[in-house]
């Protein structure tokens, strides 16, 4: 079953155009290596060191999220976001977008479904914006770089920014 999951991963990656990042990184490393071997090895070492220092926090976090998500399936999110538009709808959408940690390749099909179910476009814009800019669940990771005070401040400002995006969308759509 997991074997199948890895196979699907490759297909998804191509669809997601993540392949672009792969090619970009690969070319960069190659060019860098041709110009200066020692420097490139130092860069790879540095990058991997940073990656592995973050990995335990990240794996712990993703473990926790997978448990939480089991108890809060997408259907519930859709139900709450679909209720009403205007201030209340934006606020609910912003709240759900802030807490949820859904990868883009799930979020957009989901948004498409919401749109077809008659949820206002401004609600969906608020949902996408908070999903992208506000990360309540990833706060522990953010705090390791910025500290808690600045992380909370950034998330609060981004939350307000998302509501503003919804307002602009509502005016134009």
């Amino acid at each position: 079953m997991y074997y199948q999951a890895w196979l699907n991963l490759i297909v998804e990656l191509c669809k997601k155009k993540m392949i672009g990042l792969l090619i970009f990184t690969g070319t960069s490393v190659l060019v860098s290596f041709i110009i200066d071997k020692a420097k490139t090895l130092k860069a790879l070492d540095k990058g991997m060191r940073m990656f592995f220092s973050l990995l335990p926090t990240l794996l712990g976090l993703l473990s926790a999220i997978s448990i939480v998500l089991y108890f809060v399936p997408n259907e519930i999110l859709i139900e709450y976001m679909g209720q009403g538009s205007g201030a209340k709808g934006w606020f609910m959408s912003a709240l759900i977008g802030s807490v949820a940690l859904i990868p883009g390749f799930v979020a957009f099909p989901l948004s498409n479904m919401l749109m077809q179910n008659g949820v206002a476009a401004s609600n969906i814009a608020v949902f996408i914006t908070t999903l992208a800019m506000v990360g309540v669940i990833s706060l522990p990771v953010e705090a390791r770089y910025f500290g808690w005070r600045i992380s909370l401040l950034r998330n609060a400002v981004s939350f307000a920014a998302a509501l503003a995006v919804g307002l602009i969308m509502a005016v134009f759509l």
């Binding site: 079953m1 997991y2 999951a5 998804e12 990656l13 155009k17 672009g20 990042l21 970009f24 990184t25 960069s28 490393v29 420097k39 490139t40 130092k42 860069a43 790879l44 540095k46 990058g47 940073m50 990656f51 220092s53 973050l54 335990p56 794996l59 712990g60 993703l62 473990s63 926790a64 999220i65 997978s66 448990i67 998500l69 089991y70 990868p103 883009g104 390749f105 957009f108 099909p109 498409n112 749109m115 476009a121 814009a125 914006t129 992208a132 800019m133 990833s138 953010e142 390791r144 770089y145 500290g147 950034r154 400002v157 981004s158 307000a160 920014a161 995006v165 602009i168 969308m169 134009f172």
Partner: protein, 172 residues
């Protein structure tokens, strides 16, 4: 031992998923596949992002970052940092190491937050996906609405943090 302690939450979780599979505990199995769907993006994208961060570190001199997106870089610095962010990919937490690198090399506070805003909302891989599912009209309008908003948010962050200590750490 230190390594074991660091990964303790993850190891307990893996044990739980493995036991669920052995005993046929359906909820545990569902949680396991949730985990797989999350980790996919991370496992592939994050190491690539970190390699780019490493390359950026050794090749881009501090003086050029200071000059182009540092204090007093103005509108050109904003445009530059937005373009840089748009070329990247991955979840929000993939941007933090790059933000650390920009900070280390002398980027201004405002441009750090402009970078995070642009990275999270208008990066090209995300836009291409959005256009596919939501259409051009929605995506263009959302981008057009988002850019001035996150630039304003970065100004606000700069104003709020003025005179306060600001630092981005490299987690150890």
């Amino acid at each position: 031992m230190e390594l074991l302690r660091k990964y303790s939450i993850f190891l307990v979780f893996m044990l739980f998923v493995a036991l669920s599979h052995l005993t046929g505990f359906a909820s545990g199995q569902a949680i396991g596949s949730n985990f797989i769907s999350f980790i996919k993006e991370m496992v592939v994208v994050l190491p690539l992002m970190f390699i780019l961060v490493g390359l950026f570190d050794v090749w881009v001199p501090r003086s050029s970052i200071e000059k182009h997106i540092g204090q007093g870089a103005g509108a050109k610095g904003t445009v530059l940092v937005i373009i840089l962010a748009m070329l990247q990919a991955g979840p929000l937490y993939g941007a933090f190491p790059f933000a650390y690198m920009l900070w280390k090399k002398g980027s201004s506070v405002r441009n750090i937050f402009t970078y995070l805003g642009a990275y999270s909302s208008i990066k090209i891989p995300m836009l291409s996906f959005e256009v596919g599912f939501m259409g051009w009209e929605f995506s263009l309008l959302r981008s057009a609405a988002t850019v001035p908003v996150f630039i304003a948010a970065a100004f606000l962050m700069e104003a709020l943090l003025k005179g306060k200590s600001f630092e981005i750490k490299n987690p150890q």
